[in-house]
């Protein structure tokens, strides 16, 4: 990632450059962003970091890529043409004898059951399982890494979706006002009266909600919070003089909304995004915690919280869940804060040197 190479910086508009500068000036947000991006990047390549298959193998003079290809056990001297279990002591002995294998640093995936465990699960952290195992003998660290990715991806898609819906609906209501606004507001009020959690629970009883299912249902309701903010901003902005001037210039409504009204509404909207984002993560976690979320076996932080609650004698579960969730949410809030400040023109002015003396002399 090189967003700051000279060519790209030159192509950015000055206001974007200035926002970038303000954002970088906010050390906490800047550090949080990089930390979060690093964590997210790590979790994006979770398969390379925590997996129950070797990344690459050399066996009998030939190259194998178990990460990408499923090889039958017969390839490595096994008896059954099934998927190879690379943790099987027999296979491991075979590999050691006929070649070598490069393992990821954490040799467990999120759903790998460690069959070679000598201790009852949940097992405390040790050299083999850095954060211990959960009550089904799965590696906690691997689950955290995958769970982090899933939560962030879910929140990203949900936030983007609600942003688009909220801005479009709120914008249309606010900009046109009058009857459009009145009818739209009543409809959203009715819609927001629906109990989301009950709806999810009822739905969970006759469909097994997957990632997209859950996302779709939550998207139906998560934009409601944005509508009020965006609508209020559009209502205010449509009477501003520069919007009037744009109308007088003959610009069509969609251009006025896009170029003049939306950028102003974006500050208020952006202040909302961190809440939406963290809200999406906590909702997903809460649903998983209650057991109405992602299908069983999915790597989810909510499930880890539930395990921590059920296994109070295994504090590493609860502590890991707590630390990873609070770290993720705090980083997001700090980033959101920095973003909001960067988009606010008044903060830019504050950072410029104050000019208390009148400028009338240069007025000409």
């Amino acid at each position: 990632m090189t967003p700051h190479s000279t060519t790209l910086t030159d192509r950015l508009s000055p206001i974007t450059r200035r926002r970038l500068a303000v954002f970088r000036g906010n050390r906490r947000a800047w550090v949080s962003l990089w930390l979060f991006l690093a964590l997210f990047a790590v979790s994006l390549v979770a398969e390379l970091i925590a997996n129950d298959k070797p990344l690459i193998m050399h066996y009998d003079g030939e190259w194998y890529v178990p990460l990408l290809v499923d090889y039958p056990e017969t390839e490595f001297g096994g008896f059954l043409p099934t998927r190879t279990d690379y943790h099987d002591p027999f296979i491991q002995a075979q590999i050691a004898e006929h070649g070598w294998a490069l393992w990821p640093p954490i040799p467990f995936s999120y759903q790998t059951l460690d069959m070679q465990m000598m201790r009852p699960s949940p097992a405390a952290p040790d050299g083999r399982h850095w954060l211990g195992t959960d009550d089904q003998g799965r590696d906690v660290l691997a689950r955290v890494i995958y769970g982090f990715r899933l939560s962030v991806a879910f929140a990203l898609v949900l936030t983007a979706g609600s942003l688009v819906m909220g801005v479009v609906i709120g914008g249309i209501q606010g900009y046109f006002g009058g009857k459009t606004d009145l009818i739209g507001q009543r409809l959203t009020e009715i819609w927001s009266g629906l109990p989301v959690l009950f709806l999810l629970i009822i739905l969970a009883s006759f469909v097994q909600p997957g990632f997209w299912w859950l996302l779709g249902i939550m998207l139906l309701f998560s934009w409601l919070g944005l509508v009020d903010v965006v609508r209020a901003e559009f209502l205010r902005a449509r009477n501003l003089e520069y919007v009037r001037a744009a109308k007088a210039m003959g610009l069509p409504s969609h251009l006025i909304m896009w170029r003049h009204v939306l950028p102003n509404a974006m500050v208020a909207t952006l202040t909302f995004i961190p809440f939406l984002f963290t809200g999406a993560i906590t909702t997903l976690t809460a649903l998983d915690f209650l057991g109405f979320g992602l299908p069983p076996g999915s790597p989810s932080l909510g499930e880890l919280v539930a395990q921590g609650k059920n296994n109070l004698h295994a504090p590493w579960l609860g502590i890991t869940a707590f630390v990873s969730l609070s770290l993720m949410l705090s980083l997001l809030v700090f980033i959101g804060e920095g973003l909001r400040d960067a988009f606010d023109p008044r903060h830019i002015q504050l950072s410029a040197p104050a000019t208390p003396l009148p400028r009338t002399q240069t007025d000409a």
């Binding site: 206001i15 003959g250 102003n264 002015q349 104050a354 007025d363």
Partner: protein, 532 residues
Amino acid sequence: MRDRTPPALLRLENFSVAFDRSTVVERLSLEVHRGETLALVGESGSGKSVSALGAMNLLPDNARIEGQRWLGDTDLNRLRRRDWQALRGGRVGFIFQEPMTSLNPLHTVAKQIGETLRLHQGLSGRGARERTRELLAQVKLPRPDELLGAWPHQLSGGQRQRVMIAMAIANEPELLIADEPTTALDVTVQQEILALLDELRQRYGMGMLFITHDLNLVRRHADRVCVLYGGREQEAGGVAEVFRSPRSAYTRTLIEAEPAGQPAPVASSQPLLQANDVSVSFPRPKRLFAKRPPAFEAVKPLTLTLAPGETLGIVGESGSGKTTLALALMRLTESRGEIRFGDVRLDRLSGGELRRQRHRFQVVFQDPFGSLSPRLPVSEIISEGLRYHSPSLSDAEVSWRVQATLKEVGLPADCASRYPHEFSGGQRQRIAVARAIILEPELVVLDEPTSALDRTVQKQLVELLRDLQSRRGLSYLFISHDLAVVRAMAHRVMVLKDGEVVESGDCRTVLERPTNDYTRALVSAAGLSPAA
């Protein structure tokens, strides 16, 4: 004091105010005596208000104040917090500029005035009510009994300012600080308020510190004047003396800054804009199950014409329908009646057809801070309409046009990539003019373009507009309440009152020999100096 004359009421010596590291007021010395009005004059940002607020310790904590401050024989530098509370509102009364926000909207008039009475005189209940009624009568509010229970939003701007004055004089202060008390008011109301202040000052023998930017008011209502520029005192002395022979160069430019000259005469008489029986009305809200009240007529049917290259001044006080009329003529608000622009019937067009006509008539608004999008660089603000109306232009051509237009309105070329907040009010107004003329319109509606600007900047803008008119043959519809500017700009003038034309005709004739009572009141309130 070394001499034996009665000590001044308010005395500042070497008084400085600094915020953080920057000095805002530097070594100011002034005196206000009992029964006299000292006007503190300067342009925006010159430190007038800061001086007054600083003297009364009303500035935020990061302000550093130096120098001597005396009120009578009280050393203001030695006062503690409690003493200040007793002093403000007790010995010193304040009147602020904004009558809309300086009254608490959640309290009735009686309660707001009663509060100061209770705090400083311990009056309450009937006593306070009696005294409040008395005060309301003193500030000449009609029907004081009814007004006691009125809420601020039920009062007009002038009435609110009277209530503010009643609050300020409630405890018979020795010193009255009036910070631009009439700036937000219409000219005729201005005169009434200032006359009232003069009268009260004489009756109570108060000293008055009158802060203003309007030299016309200083000339008529102050005894002495102190001119500030950039936080420094430029000149002080008796009003007549300063106006007759100003010593400092700045005072001289300030006095000469009244817009002068007149527009170039018009040759053609074929009308560019012709409006017949144009009227605008707004429906009033309807209560549930009630009959809809008759619509509010903002502009009653009126007829006007405008020739190419001509300026029609539209004059009136706030609420007279000036801006509504302009918006109606530009089809930015719903209206009835015929609007003919060149050979096009504007009132029959709508949607895309209307938008394609819009480059022919442009508008410049009053507020230089609100009329430019803060999120776009100047080049985009100016070129936006051009890109839409002539999509065939290449980027190079557009930027060339932007540069040429910036030059035409007297702005340096390098400001194209900067953002509006980096510019002063006068410069922003130039940007707004550039945005309008880049589309090569035939008509520009100027809606109070100079009202938010300092006098010296106003003069420059008026000259620019006249220059553009003679160069491009533009027609202007010039809306203003400031007769001095209208006289410098307009060929013909139309006086509006409550949405009706009360008088119209040649600009000089109307302003010099008004036939209508209302026009006469306006002209006399404006205090125009005789035309050059």
